[in-house]
């Protein structure tokens, strides 16, 4: 057989749904038959032909796991998928989390828990001590808690209404844990969630001079750094790299991120 140079760019690959795991009333995880090599914190674009394409976090890589809340037309269609159905995936895309230090504090707000599961597994395999803080408005909106409980880590839960774990924001037990760290220079906070939560965590980390990697959300269109739709402004605490002038005020979540590293 003759050999052609394959040059497929970033065309979609087909994945087949193996299992559908219900996480809560609104959220399910699709567990695929195939793996997807990826770093924790990277994302993928999932295409349902004729329906649409959206970005999602990667919750597991071998096999690929994607955790999806039913919040719109396309995610509703995804919730109708059954074992044996096919989906089309582009990725992994973007910059993921990097392992840093010996103590990891992982903070997930709502669906922001999704990429942290893979990150927790990855950090534990590197011998890093992991604590996980999950927060949500109420207990029905906490996701993947059973999956985190299977791992050798300390899990802290908070809800705004007190229906599970501590009542209050996730930053409360986080600050307590930061204060108890043996060496803050060897620790890193990894977070994913809504903007308000990330800004609060950034301020907290600045106060204690602790490294953090925050994963930002934005409405994404092209996913390729071209359309500019997902640009955001990063907090002043982030040091703009000298070779990326103008990036702090026009940071492309799809391309420069989604994770930001402040040391």
């Amino acid at each position: 057989m003759s050999e052609f140079r394959k040059n497929e760019g970033m065309r979609s690959q087909i994945f087949t749904v193996d299992q559908v795991r219900i996480e809560n009333e609104m959220t399910t995880s699709l567990i695929m038959r195939e793996p997807l090599q990826s770093e924790p914190g990277q994302f993928l674009l999932l295409w349902l032909p004729g329906i649409g394409e959206k970005p999602f976090s990667i919750a597991g890589i071998d096999p690929l796991v994607v955790t999806i809340a039913d919040v719109g037309k396309m995610t509703h269609e995804i919730h109708g998928l059954k074992p044996g159905d096919r989906v089309w995936v582009r990725g992994p895309l973007g910059r993921g989390y990097q392992a840093y230090g010996s103590e990891a504090l992982l903070v997930g707000g709502g669906y922001g828990a999704s990429p942290l599961l893979l990150l927790a597994e990855n950090l534990i395999s590197k011998g890093i001590n992991v604590q996980v803080f999950l927060g949500a408005r109420n207990k029905d909106l906490l996701i993947l808690t059973d999956q985190f409980k299977k791992l050798p880590l300390k899990l802290h839960l908070t809800t705004n209404d007190g229906s599970a774990g501590l009542q209050g924001f996730v930053t409360v037990p986080l600050e307590a844990a930061i204060q108890e760290l043996p060496d803050r220079n060897q620790a890193c906070v990894y977070a994913c969630g809504p903007k308000g939560m990330l800004l609060g965590i950034d301020a907290l980390c600045e106060k204690y001079r602790i490294a953090r990697q925050l994963s930002w959300e934005a409405v994404m269109r092209c996913g390729m750094g071209l359309c500019g739709n997902c640009r955001i402004e990063l907090p002043d605490t982030w040091q703009e790299p000298a070779d990326q002038p103008g990036s702090r005020r026009a940071w492309l979540v799809c391309r420069d991120g989604p994770t930001m590293f402040t040391q």
Partner: protein, 299 residues
């Protein structure tokens, strides 16, 4: 390092011949600032229309292997919002502001007339009008409508390569009063996923840009250069300093990059310019006049 200043018209000289092409990131003042600070000698806005356009649903683009395919459906907030974007750009860029080319799109000459009046009031250094179809009569009407309403601001007409009589089109644009021609727009194309048995883009078809477009652009630029004596803003698949030199030799006076920002990010500007300077020095060229259109010179 020599930056190779680029005289586009009597009233406009750019610091270098490398600019941000229309369509990439030009819908945000802060992204225009980022392009300027990364080394673009001028920045072109995304195409603005008279009214807001929501644009197409995802998927809107991908890398298919030899280039990109894109169809964002002309997403833009409408020309009235361009005013705020351009004033914010000037304020945020401060000393590092570079000239702005305002790209506009309309379906008819009448609509172009109104759109141009609104755009001219924002005082960009150049108005770049996207020709809706590569037709000589339409080119003539649109060019006149834009030039008559541009309040003396130079006008460039941006053309698509899918035209069989480039020289006639160029003459119609020149006779209509344009100061420049921008060539080329991406070329129509389609991507199909065989397993899905569907087109990949939500709109079905899109436009091909990136490396696949470069030889097509060079051909059109060459024809334009020979047909009319207007400065040509070359766009289409420029990824390196050598690509840039080739486009200038085909006849372009300056060169825009777009897809390169996908392949490399904003550092593409400085890398391409460094490579171009190294080429000019190694080949002993002192300024742009020594290479623009060089392949057509009879020596």
């Amino acid at each position: 390092m020599n930056n190779y200043p680029c005289k586009l018209f009597d009233q406009l000289t750019l610091n270098t011949p490398l600019i941000l092409a229309s369509g990439v990131s030009g819908n945000s003042d802060s992204l225009l600032v980022r392009a300027a600070r990364s080394g673009a000698a001028a920045v072109t806005t995304k195409g603005f229309t008279l009214k807001y356009r929501k644009g197409a649903d995802n998927p809107v683009s991908t890398d298919w292997g030899c280039g990109l395919i894109t169809n964002l459906g002309l997403t833009n907030p409408g020309v009235d919002s361009m005013k705020y974007m351009l004033s914010a750009y000037v304020e945020k860029a401060g000393d590092e502001a570079v000239p702005v080319f305002a790209n506009i799109y309309a379906d008819t000459a009448e609509e172009f007339a109104e759109l141009t009046r609104k755009t001219a009031a924002l005082n960009p250094v150049l108005i770049e009008a996207d020709l809706p179809a590569p037709d000589e009569n339409l080119a003539s009407e649109v060019t006149r409508a834009v030039c008559e309403n541009a309040a003396g601001i130079p006008v460039s007409i941006k053309i698509s390569p899918d035209c069989c009589r480039i020289s006639r089109l160029a003459e119609a644009i020149r006779d209509g009063g344009a100061s420049a021609i921008t060539a080329v727009n991406p070329i129509p194309g389609m991507l199909i996923d065989a397993y899905a048995a569907k087109p990949f883009l939500s709109n079905g078809t899109g436009w091909i840009s990136g490396p696949a477009l470069k030889p097509i652009a060079l051909n059109v630029i060459g024809e334009l250069y020979q047909a009319v004596d207007l400065p040509i803003i070359g766009v289409g698949g420029v990824m390196s300093g050598l690509d840039m030199a080739e486009m200038l030799m085909a006849g372009a006076r300056c060169v825009g990059v777009g897809s390169a920002l996908y392949y490399e990010g904003y550092s593409a500007f400085s890398r391409i310019m460094n490579e171009f300077s190294a080429f000019m020095e190694s080949e002993g060229y002192r300024d742009l006049d020594e290479i623009v259109g060089k392949i057509w010179w009879k020596s």
